[in-house]
């Protein structure tokens, strides 16, 4: 194996979602040192926030559990949470990466006993539940949090409540004095696995999210359906907690639209079918209408589409709704043209779910990330030191993300080892 005089063979993976974790585990299990950076307090990313995966409707806890175990057991992986990249300098084999940390205010000897949480009084919006409910100012991000450490919200630092929280910890793990830190890492290759964020529904003004009651997004729906979500897994509409019996699922809310995201986000069709399955599972009398431009259930996912299509209480309406208004009963009313019957409709619902698309988490101008026209990071081959994995490289579902991440791990190994193909191995 040649190393071409490369200074570092360490691989830096930016982002600890399913893509980043997979890249890290695959590279580490092949014998390379990996630093896994995560901006938030725990690994798992968007996948941890899902209720279930499509198409098999199994729970993400399963896939995450395996990866957490692999990370825990592998000494080559160094995990840094609440850390993000501020700057990158250098070339393949010798990058100097500046990273900054935000204080967790809880040290690594935390046993997650929960004493600090019981001592906390004030409530803060829960980022894990997209702000749909609140958590105590000292909280475990979620049940499956890895690393299993509490977080103290910065809002209580310097208050009597903060002191009370610190005093409640029997082992002195609460550290209110912690400050943001900046330091350098030397690595040989960088993999951006920064994933995605839901497209801001407020930008789709005609769909009234935030203005019309009971218009929610697909990621909020995931939390409503999740057992550890704000409604403990029972899907209830936000305005009055009523069981939704007439539900509209609206595809391409922001995707395939030159005014918003010009590309197809690829997962929303299946995600909405999964939402139809959630609803029909919980409410035998629920009627679900799916508004779509085209159904894009590619490859093996066609079977799931057929399964949902066989349900007579799920209706398919070929139409991109033009607007959502407030009906006389105060609920959402979906208006548009059914393009198959050419009928102009205005239908009232208990709940409307917008299938908002995936937007790259990498902001324009991010350090050393070469982006395509849509803001995703170009996944270069092994001759380049910087690549991307999973949704950072373009919209993908979980299984495709894992494939993409495995490929990214291989390219990163090629980058730090200088070996491009088997014939080069002597």
């Amino acid at each position: 194996m040649t190393s071409e005089g490369l200074r570092s063979q360490t691989i830096l993976v930016v982002g600890g979602g399913i893509g980043g974790m997979t890249t890290a585990v695959e590279a580490a299990e092949a014998g390379y040192d990996v630093i896994l950076l995560e901006k938030s307090a725990t690994l798992g990313g968007r996948v941890a926030q899902l209720s279930r995966y499509f198409p098999k409707l199994c729970h993400p806890t399963c896939g995450l559990e395996i990866n957490f175990q692999r990370i825990k057991k592998n000494r080559r992986i160094k995990v840094m949470t609440m850390t993000s990249v501020a700057g990158v300098e250098g070339t393949r084999g010798d990058y100097s990466v500046t990273v900054t940390t935000t204080p967790r205010h809880v040290k690594a000897n935390c046993t997650a006993c929960g004493d600090c949480g019981r001592a906390a009084e004030s409530m803060v919006p829960s980022p894990f539940n997209y702000g749909m409910d609140t958590v105590k100012a000292a909280y475990l991000p979620h049940e499956m949090a890895f690393p299993q450490f509490y977080v103290v919200d910065p809002s209580v630092v310097g208050t009597p409540e903060g002191e009370k929280i610190a005093a409640a910890c029997k082992i002195g793990a609460v550290d209110l004095a912690a400050k943001p830190e900046t330091f350098q890492l030397t690595v040989g290759a960088i993999v951006w696995a920064t994933g995605w964020q839901p497209y801001d529904p407020a930008k789709i003004t005609t769909y009234g999210h935030g203005r019309v009651p009971n218009v929610i997004t697909n990621v909020e729906m995931e939390r409503l359906a999740a057992h550890d979500g704000p409604t403990h897994g029972k899907i209830l509409r936000p305005s009055d907690g009523k069981e939704p019996k007439k539900v509209a699922l609206i595809q391409c809310a922001g995707s395939r639209d030159n005014n918003h995201l010009a590309y197809c986000s690829r997962i929303c069709c299946l995600a909405s079918m999964k939402h139809a399955a959630y609803l029909r599972e919980q409410y035998a009398d629920a009627e679900v209408d799916i508004y779509y431009i085209d159904i894009r259930a590619h490859d093996k996912l066609e079977a799931f589409y057929r399964k949902i299509k066989a349900d007579p209480q799920v209706n398919w309406i070929k139409s991109k709704p033009s607007r959502i208004e407030v009906a006389e009963d105060g609920g959402p009313m979906v208006c548009g043209e059914n393009t198959l019957t050419r009928e102009i409709y205005a239908k009232s619902y208990d709940l409307v779910v917008l299938a908002t698309g995936m937007q790259s988490s990498v902001k324009a101008g991010a350090p050393a990330a070469e982006m395509d026209d849509y803001g995703f990071v170009v996944p270069h081959d092994g001759s380049a030191g910087i690549g991307s994995a999973g949704v950072a490289s373009g919209p993908l579902d979980v299984s495709m993300t894992v494939q993409s991440a495995t490929a990214a791990a291989l390219r990163a190994i090629q980058a730090v080892s200088g070996v491009r193909n088997a014939s080069e191995v002597s």
Binding site: C252, P321, R323, T339, R342, I344
Partner: protein, 200 residues
């Protein structure tokens, strides 16, 4: 503008290509993905023979006659809801207006008899002649375009409104108001006609 070809065969794209190349906004129309946002957004959608989405499909299907005789091209009120919402940035309003112009040029009966065509003609006459719209003349020309007896009937039916408008000084009696330097306007219009003849 050359005359628009009339498709004769099945799968004849000649009219669609003509629209893509000659109609204002037609090049963007080629990108229409038939989602129906335009028809769903249209405040007059239920009073059109076909919504814009279907009209665009008919253009692709070579249905020149049906397209240029539909009331869709005359009923657009230029609210621009569809243009703002179209995910493919198709300027629906421009296309409908230019299709109406094409229908006039090609001498379709509907282009003479559609109520919006009649009104547009009366409006244009007043605007070009005086530089302003004179409510009395525009409505009179519009009403009497339906014939003498129908014109009288329509005028009488609206007499009360006219009287009230005069009373509240929303309409005046006497000579039509006109702009200063009407000659300049005529020169501008003549130049515009010249540019149109040259470029189309």
């Amino acid at each position: 503008m050359n005359a628009a070809p009339t498709p004769t065969r099945k799968y004849d794209l000649s009219f669609a290509r003509y629209v893509y190349q000659n109609i204002d906004g037609g090049d963007r129309m080629a990108k229409c993905m038939q989602c129906g946002t335009c028809s769903g957004s249209c405040p007059l959608g239920d009073q059109m023979d076909y919504g814009p989405r279907k009209l665009f499909m008919m253009i692709r299907a070579g249905m020149k006659e049906a397209v240029l005789t539909s009331n869709t091209i005359w009923n657009c009120v230029s609210c621009y809801n569809c243009v703002v919402r179209c995910p493919r940035k198709v300027p629906v309003t421009y296309i409908l207006h230019d299709l109406a112009t094409l229908a006039v040029k090609e001498g379709y009966e509907q282009a003479k008899t559609a109520i919006n065509a009649r009104f547009a003609k009366a409006f244009w006459w007043s605007a070009a002649r005086w530089g302003r719209t004179d409510e009395r003349l525009v409505t009179a020309i519009y009403y009497f375009s339906f014939g003498l007896s129908q014109g009288m009937k329509m005028s009488l039916a609206n007499l009360k409104i006219a009287q009230a408008m005069v009373k509240t000084k929303r309409m005046h009696l006497g000579m039509p108001h006109k702009i200063k330097n009407g000659g300049d306007l005529k020169a501008i219009l003549a130049k515009a006609a010249e540019i149109q003849a040259r470029d189309h």
